[in-house]
């Protein structure tokens, strides 16, 4: 296995983490929109809190997709065609969500339609991304060409579905922390923040239970792919990190700390998934047909060029994000929201 291939395996993990950590909270806020947004003013707070940043956050998904295509084309081809209907649902979700977010504020007459688009469009990716990761770990039926041979329902097992729920609940926790962080300082805003905090406490508990269920399903139904003991230790390390993040997030208190700890939780979950998968990219029910890092990696020349692109591009992107989050830092003001 070329060292560049391993570096790219790690970098794809970093990009997926970037997506999970950043788009995760705005997807979660979108799913919580009808739950926490009791009044029009509350809903305006939620929309406006993610308005300036959601699009940049979503680009992490496109970056991860493009990087997977470039570095491990067979894995990109197998997963996107194998999960065809699920990917299409994610896509339709992202499409209607993008439009609803930009149009809602200027079209009061059709507000209901845009709200439905926003919530459904947030829920589909938030739920289905985890189902896809679950399948990649559990192993899917593949043929020698790497083509998926099962049906849509092959993809839905207790393990993969609970992985989907785990991802969703984690994004909900992120979203509730974000809303509490951005709610205005006045009485109404404080009330919204308080509800978000109370919900976060319950969601963290739910997340712990879902994670326990996912783990149980994993040990019962998933055949490990024979990676070494070091990798198992790595997974255990991330699991401990994850547990700590849940404990801290569940304690309440400072919103910013809870939010950042949740982002750390994203890293831990991606770390667990990646170390469970290694040295494969996609597990197969017939181990011989698994998509491995070694066989799926592009040429060293491509991986080296891509590394150069990433080393130049990612720091620039981080600067953009710092600029954006600094410009829009702090709690929202009522003045930002009056209709």
């Amino acid at each position: 296995m070329s060292p560049l291939a391993i570096i790219w395996f790690l970098l794809i993990g970093v990009l997926i983490f970037g997506y999970f950590a950043l788009d995760g909270f705005d997807l979660g806020a979108g799913v919580l929109y009808p739950v926490l947004g009791r009044s029009e003013a509350d809903r305006a707070v939620i929309r406006r809190s993610i308005g300036p940043v959601w699009d940049g956050n979503e680009v992490w998904l496109l970056t991860a997709g493009g990087a997977l295509f470039a570095a491990f084309a067979p894995a990109y081809a197998t997963s996107f065609s194998g999960f065809y209907l699920a990917i299409m649902l994610v896509l339709f979700g992202l499409i209607v969500r993008a439009v609803s977010l930009e149009f809602r504020a200027h079209d009061a007459a059709w507000a209901r339609l845009y709200d439905v688009m926003f919530v459904v469009g947030s829920l589909l990716p938030a739920l289905l991304c985890g189902v896809a990761v679950g399948n990649v770990i559990a192993g899917i039926p593949l043929d020698a060409n790497g083509d998926f041979t099962g049906t849509f329902f092959t993809l839905l097992t207790p393990f993969t579905l609970s992985c989907g729920v785990l991802g969703l609940v984690h994004m909900l926790v992120q979203g509730s922390a974000w809303i509490a962080l951005k709610a205005p300082e006045d009485a109404e805003g404080a009330e919204l923040a308080e509800r978000a905090r109370a919900l976060r406490g319950k969601l963290v508990l739910a997340e712990a239970l879902v994670f326990a269920f996912v783990s149980a399903c994993f040990f019962v139904s998933v055949v490990p792919n024979g990676a070494g003991v070091e990798v198992t230790f790595l997974a255990a390390f991330f699991a401990v990190l994850y547990a700590v993040s849940l404990l801290v997030a569940g304690r309440g208190g400072c919103d910013l700390r809870a939010f950042l700890v949740e982002e750390l939780g994203c890293a831990a979950l991606v770390g667990i998934a990646a170390s469970t998968l290694f040295p494969n990219l996609i597990n197969a029910t017939k181990p011989a047909f698994a998509i491995t890092i070694e066989h799926a990696a592009g040429s060293d020349l491509t991986l080296a060029i891509m590394l150069g692109i990433a080393l130049i591009g990612v720091p620039i992107v981080l600067v953009y994000h710092v600029v954006a989050y600094r410009v829009f830092r702090g709690r929202l003001k009522r003045g930002d929201l009056t209709y």
């Binding site: 308005g51 300036p52 699009d55 940049g56 979503e58 680009v59 496109l62 970056t63 997709g65 493009g66 990087a67 997977l68 295509f69 470039a70 570095a71 084309a73 067979p74 990109y76 081809a77 197998t78 997963s79 996107f80 065609s81 065809y84 209907l85 990917i87 299409m88 896509l91 339709f92 499409i95 209607v96 439009v99 977010l101 930009e102 504020a105 200027h106 079209d107 009061a108 059709w110 845009y114 020698a144 083509d147 998926f148 592009g298 040429s299 491509t302 692109i309 990433a310 620039i316 953009y320 994000h321 600029v323 954006a324 410009v327 829009f328 003001k333 003045g335 930002d336 929201l337 009056t338």
Partner: protein, 484 residues
């Protein structure tokens, strides 16, 4: 079987890609074109900070944001679709094709999305200088994203900098020279051609909006400003299009002779005519056209006797069957370019006050944007149908590139879903555009005054805002709608 195509995964995958690409390609030129207009308006606003320029800028930011949203939404489809519907293509080209897509996201998408966020929401949170810079950076990001995707597409048209390698699963392209692959023979001509075309779209939208307000007798001085900006930009683009189009045609002649033959409906080898219009009888392999014999040969080689291969002299399974479609698309594109020039000239005449007593010039000007967007769609069809049956020219055929894991019925279902979702998108997009244009810069002028009053009362921190703006803009829209 007559309805056999309903069951043919290759045909269905092509229909889905073709439809979603043509649809996405409506919003790209509008976004990039309007993005430039917005940036120009930001600079004007920065220079004098006048109330009028402030309203004009806000108005264009709104238009830009509306188109950008739909462009982003329909753009994700394109990146996903290589993997979902063209898995064997992805396996074949991954070593080369993925890098520009990743680079597009890293170098272009982040830039445009972060700075458009500041543009939409941050007017009162950043300095005037940073705000103007954000407008230009967002637009630059969109133009840069076009470069990366043109690199990817051009490699499919004129592959370079690679070798064919074999492994257990068959052949695939492997990169040998990144620069040669990125700057393959058709990248720069195609990019130049596309960039000028999408900016022309911006110019004619600007002309159209200005002419519409002049026609309605609203915001005269702002409207004249729009018209002037549009005419200047349009004139520059119309002139730049000449070398751009020439280079592009020359590249096709040198690198994709079968496409050139289809563009002029040339079945027999010989000098290529330059037709004005005509009809291709595909059954009898005859082209009836009015034009200059040997004209295309003159343009390509300065010699009317230079011969190019006719379609009959290529292998039958290596030429496109869509000859008439390509012929018509190509000639419509060229004719529409003529229409664009006339619109720009008409706009200049109106600006000079030559046709002050007539309404018809303003009606034509307000609809002029139809010409560039139609030309752009037709041009895209020439490029893509002309490549058929190849997906990677000379290396991989379309029929060998699909996802074997996806059954035809699933593609059919998603085509229907795309039709439904994209129709919804079109409805809300058209609704938002007409709402915004009807409300016009007046809405933002009124808001500017209201904001100034507010600012006098409120503390400096709770400055006028985006959401505050909406209420006034919407109210003005309602008023405008009621009086119209």
């Amino acid at each position: 079987m007559r309805m056999g195509w309903l069951n043919d995964p290759v045909v269905l995958a092509r229909i889905q890609f073709g439809l979603t690409a043509l649809y996405h390609y409506i919003f790209v030129p509008v976004s990039i074109g309007v993005g430039l207009v917005t940036a120009v308006m930001a600079s004007k606003w920065y220079r004098d900070g006048s109330k009028e320029n402030d309203a004009a800028l806000r108005f264009w930011v709104r238009l830009y944001a509306i188109n950008f949203a739909v462009g982003v939404a329909t753009g994700i489809t394109m990146e996903f679709q290589f993997g979902t519907n063209w898995a064997d293509y992805s396996r074949f080209v991954g070593d080369i094709f993925g890098a520009p897509l990743a680079a597009e996201a890293l170098f272009a998408f982040f830039m445009e999305s972060v700075f458009i966020g500041i543009l939409i929401f941050g007017k009162n949170r950043v300095s005037r200088k940073v705000y103007r810079l954000s407008a230009w950076l967002s637009w630059a990001g969109s133009l840069l994203s076009a470069l990366w995707i043109i690199i990817a597409n051009s490699w499919m048209q004129t592959p370079a900098g690679y070798k064919i390698a074999y492994d257990a699963n068959g052949a695939k392209a492997q990169i040998t020279d990144f620069l040669a692959a990125a700057l393959n023979p058709s990248t720069l001509p195609r990019y130049f051609h596309v960039a000028v075309a999408v900016l022309t779209m911006g110019a004619l939208v600007c002309i159209g909006v200005g002419a519409y307000y002049l026609l309605k007798g609203r915001v005269q001085s702002i409207a004249k400003g729009f018209l002037r900006t549009g005419v200047i930009l349009g004139a520059i683009c119309a002139v730049a299009m000449l070398p751009a189009a020439h280079q592009q045609a020359l590249t096709v002649a040198r690198t994709q002779p079968a496409k050139l033959a289809a563009m002029e409906g040339q079945y027999e080898t010989g000098p290529v005519a330059l037709s004005l219009f005509g009809w291709v009888d595909e059954q009898n392999q005859q082209t009836y056209a009015l034009g200059i014999p040997g004209g295309t040969s003159v343009l390509a080689d300065m010699d009317p006797t230079v011969e190019y291969l006719g379609l009959n002299d290529f292998d039958a399974d290596e030429t496109t069957p869509f000859v008439n479609l390509i012929f018509q698309s190509y000639h419509l594109m060229v004719a529409l370019y003529g229409a664009i020039i006339l619109v720009v000239i008409l706009g200049a005449l109106v600006l000079k006050g030559k046709l002050a007593n007539h309404k018809w010039p303003l009606v034509i000007l307000s609809l002029g944007w139809i010409a560039p967007i139609a030309a752009i769609e037709f041009g895209w069809m020439v490029t893509e149908f002309g490549r058929y049956p190849w997906i990677v020219y000379g290396e991989l055929k379309v029929e060998d590139a699909i996802s074997l894991a996806v059954p035809a019925w699933q593609v059919l279902i998603t085509i229907l879903l795309f039709l439904a979702v994209y129709t919804l998108l079109f409805v809300v997009w058209a609704r938002m555009l007409s709402k915004t244009v009807k409300a016009g810069p007046e809405a933002f002028l009124a808001e500017g005054e209201a904001a100034a009053k507010d600012a006098a009362v409120a503390d400096a921190d709770s400055a006028p805002s985006y959401f505050g703006a909406d209420a006034t803009a919407d109210a003005a829209a309602e008023k405008g709608g009621a009086s119209a």
